[in-house]
């Protein structure tokens, strides 16, 4: 313990050198901006700015990129909350409740919640990282396909097993998502699937962000236009204001959500550690769990602050978590860390099991800088809230075209393809119609993200076991997870039966 503390203090000695501190501030600010731009997320940011890092020593370079990664996690929430356009795939879950809060005039509350939850998630995960990197790396290593599949089942279960929502509609929505996720090349057999009308672009599959920007960005805009017309004229998106008094009250109010923050942080961290998962599934799963744990699950999706806290704590925690397999195993836990990994090789470092002993200055400098980056990003984010609120006060007639253009840019930017833009517009209309017909959208979005991961894990597991389903229940880690998932799936059915039975009894009396 004292040894770790000593190493961490040495790390702070590195992180707080003037150049490195400046890199942290610059990295966080750049990340905040990139994260807030729809379509651009931490992956793009890190990839674009990687060549810049050849100008500084390796430790400074990784500190800069890690700060950027963090900043982007904070920034993604901004456009999700303000405009209803997911700023990055990691912030899609934040739109579910962040946007309704903003419409209620509570944008400042949502933004503060996002910033504070990100800070808490980031900090808790760095503490976990500091204390237990090597044993956790071992868990990540033995976590195989059956475990991954069990985890995915758990995520689906949290979305199906929600009281309140229409279960049949939820399952239908999940199925639509799974079908969309199946489009493109099948990794296990290598065959193309669901290539509609022989449009070769479908071979690449449907990108999650394109779907999310369509459904939430465009769909939301159409929805608001309709509401506006009904209200009869020029209105603004939100009556939000921000004052010191309100901010202090908001932060105080967040203390009540500590359980959700803790859950989101720990869950996000563990999902982040697993190679292949990363921050997007982590944040969606945290949202599902928060709803499941809540005493009033019906208020989720309608502006419950816990619905912002959970995914925001989780996505920051996951971004730290995904650095663990990168540093200790040389395997990226997320697309962003894959690029960081490339950078490390180039700087002459060898990520892998020996990095901790051979390059303690680098590793501990990075860990210490994560603590510092959290503080810097929190300050920057809270300081900018008044500016964001000002944007929200613009009349909607001005804002609507801006949202539309941002959606187009967001759909085009990741792959520079018009095909994605058309697809996004189509999803916008479909999303709008689904909302009118009262179908829940979040389960479809979840299915698109987790579907491919779950399918691959399922098929690989069954290949290994020769078709025996027992493989999911007989292994040390997957067994318990699978059992919990099945209980969660059956829970609503049990509750429904009990309600029916009681109803029958009440009638007969």
């Amino acid at each position: 313990m004292t040894e770790i503390f000593g190493l961490l203090m040495d790390g702070f000695g590195v992180a707080l050198q003037p150049l490195n501190l400046a890199l942290i501030v610059f990295g966080c600010a750049a990340g905040l901006f990139i994260g807030a731009m729809p379509g651009l997320g931490s992956v793009n940011g890190v990839a674009i700015l990687l060549p810049l890092t050849y100008l500084v020593p390796p430790t400074g370079a990784i500190i800069f990129l890690a700060a950027l990664y963090y900043g982007a996690m904070y920034g993604g929430a901004i456009s999700s909350i303000m405009l209803g356009i997911p700023g990055a795939s990691t912030a899609v879950a934040t739109t579910f409740d962040g946007r309704p809060l903003a419409k209620k005039g509570l944008a400042d509350k949502a933004l503060t919640a996002a910033a504070v939850a990100s800070f808490v998630g980031g900090t808790i995960s760095v503490i976990l990282f500091t204390l237990a990197a090597p044993p956790l790396a071992h868990v990540a290593l033995v976590f195989g396909d059956p475990e991954e599949f069990a985890l995915m089942m758990l995520a689906f279960a949290t979305f199906v097993g929600l009281g309140g929502d229409d279960i049949a509609k939820t399952i239908f929505s999940i199925c639509i998502g799974l079908v969309l996720a199946a489009v493109g090349f099948d990794t296990v057999s290598g065959e193309p699937r669901l290539v509609f009308f022989d449009i070769t672009n479908f071979m690449d599959g449907i990108k999650f962000l394109v779907l999310a920007i369509g459904i939430y960005g465009i769909g939301e805009m159409l929805w608001t236009i309709e509401e506006n017309r009904r209200a009869g004229g020029v209105s603004q998106l939100s009556e939000a204001t921000v004052t010191w008094k309100r901010t202090v009250a908001n932060i105080r109010g967040l203390l009540a959500t500590w359980k959700t923050m803790l859950m989101g942080s720990v869950l996000g961290y563990f999902v982040g550690i697993l190679p292949a998962a990363g921050a997007t599934p982590g944040s969606l799963m945290a949202y599902g769990f928060a709803k499941q744990m809540s005493k009033e699950p019906d208020s989720f999706g309608k502006g419950n602050v816990e619905g912002v806290v959970a995914p925001e704590a989780a996505n920051n925690a996951a971004s730290t978590g995904s650095m663990l397999p990168m540093l200790t195993l040389g395997i990226p836990g997320s697309p962003t860390t894959a690029i960081l990994l490339g950078g490390m090789v180039l700087w002459g470092l060898e990520p892998g099991p020996r990095l901790f002993t051979e390059q303690p200055e680098f590793v501990w400098g990075l860990i210490a800088s994560l603590y510092a980056a959290n503080v810097v990003a929190l300050i920057l984010n809270v300081a900018f809230i008044p500016l964001f609120i000002w944007v929200l006060k613009l009349p909607f007639t001005l804002l609507a075209p801006v949202i539309f253009v941002l959606c187009l840019v967001g759909g085009y930017a990741p792959n520079q393809s018009m095909y994605d833009v058309w697809l996004m517009l189509l999803f916008g209309v479909v999303g709008y119609l689904m909302r009118k017909l009262d179908y829940p959208l979040a389960p479809a979005v979840l299915a698109v993200v987790l579907g491919p991961l779950a399918e691959r894990a399922l098929r690989q597991s069954l290949l290994i076991s020769g078709g025996e389903v027992s493989i999911f229940f007989t292994r040390a880690y997957s067994g318990p997870i699978m059992v919990v998932a099945i209980i969660l799936l059956l829970l609503p059915l049990g509750l429904m039966l009990r309600r029916r039975l009681r109803g029958v009894q009440a009638d007969s009396q």
């Binding site: 065959e191 193309p192 690449d204 395997i331 490339g342 020996r354």
Partner: protein, 324 residues
């Protein structure tokens, strides 16, 4: 602002543009460097390494790696096919460059239309096992491996990088040569495959040295033998399959290829650029560290090599029953 604009801005702010000495044509925007595999695998690492060499030694403009994983390279090939006549798109390719178009004639990809630029290396393959297996068995030689795999039958898991990929071909070879029934399970990328072995979720792999390097150095995994002509300097104790009586040598090309229909001037430019990369100290030391082999090949020689390799692979796939 999109990614391209951002990189363009960076270009101007950092002054990374270096003018090539003689070539008439030069890139007008950042070069898109397509990787035929997922992030974190051997090919991806090599591309990002070359990107770094080009940036650091100011050999050319910004290079943006773009990962097009999936379908054993089909996604990437399809993408390149769509970039016909584009002078700013190049790809780093593997042996799936031959096998995928053979297996999926529907793609309509003819590799002879692609522009040969330069073969940067040939990667090697070795047979790997975990040093501390769950069943406690210690496997140190190919003989011990064969005995254990025979006893396990189809319960022996061989992890690899996709159906009918290089790893699949090698697994098939081992199954035939030693009368084994190992089960092949495909994963996305060599990094993930290496992890399956290190975590004892697979019994063996045929990873490239670079993919297992970290685990090997940490003492977790062991190479039993390599599919090479000579022993690798990195693993002096691992024999070649030739030495132990199975004449099977297999390499994977690591080659830079240009979009179909690229202009001759552009091809010449890239040729010069990648010769410089090849001859740089960093690439040479990378080759040594990662046990990469193979001389640089370019132009017509490279095309001839492709045609030869394609017919070799066609024969192998036919033998496997993957194609008719």
């Amino acid at each position: 602002m999109n990614a391209k604009m951002m990189s363009a801005m960076l270009l101007t702010t950092t002054g990374l543009i270096a003018t090539p000495a003689l070539a008439e044509w030069k890139p007008a925007k950042p070069i898109e460097f397509v990787v035929m595999a997922g992030k974190g695998g051997g090919a991806d690492k090599a591309v990002r390494y070359m990107q770094g060499i080009i940036a650091e030694e100011k050999l050319g403009p910004t290079v943006t790696p773009v990962n097009k994983a999936g379908g054993s390279g089909a996604v990437a090939l399809n993408y390149m096919k769509g970039k016909k006549g584009d002078n700013h798109t190049i790809m780093f390719t593997l042996n799936s460059f031959y096998t995928t178009p053979l297996r999926q004639p529907k793609l309509g990809v003819n590799i002879e239309t692609f522009t040969p630029i330069m073969r940067m290396a040939e990667d090697t393959f070795c047979l790997w096992v975990n040093k501390k297996r769950n069943d406690g068995k210690e496997i140190k030689t190919v003989d011990e491996f064969v005995a254990a795999a025979k006893a396990a039958g189809s319960k022996w898991i061989m992890a690899g990088t996709g159906k009918n990929s290089e790893d699949n071909l090698l697994t098939d070879f081992l199954n035939t040569a030693y009368g084994l029934k190992m089960k092949y399970v495909p994963y996305k990328g060599g990094g993930k495959v290496a992890k399956q072995l290190a975590g004892n979720n697979a019994d063996s792999t045929v990873n490239n040295p670079s993919e297992q390097e970290g685990f090997y150095k940490a003492g977790a995994t062991r190479p039993l033998a390599c599919f090479t002509d000579k022993r690798l300097a990195l693993f002096p104790d691992a024999p070649t399959f030739k030495e132990i009586g199975k004449d099977f040598v297999y390499y994977m090309q690591r080659t830079v290829v240009g979009a179909p229909g690229m202009s001759a001037d552009a091809a010449k430019y890239y040729n010069t650029l990648f010769s410089k990369v090849f001859n740089s100290k960093k690439w040479q030391s990378y080759r040594t560290k990662k046990a990469l082999q193979g001389d640089p090949l370019a132009g017509g020689k490279l095309m001839a090599y492709w045609k030869k390799e394609r017919s070799v692979h066609e024969a192998m796939l036919k033998k496997m029953g993957a194609i008719k």
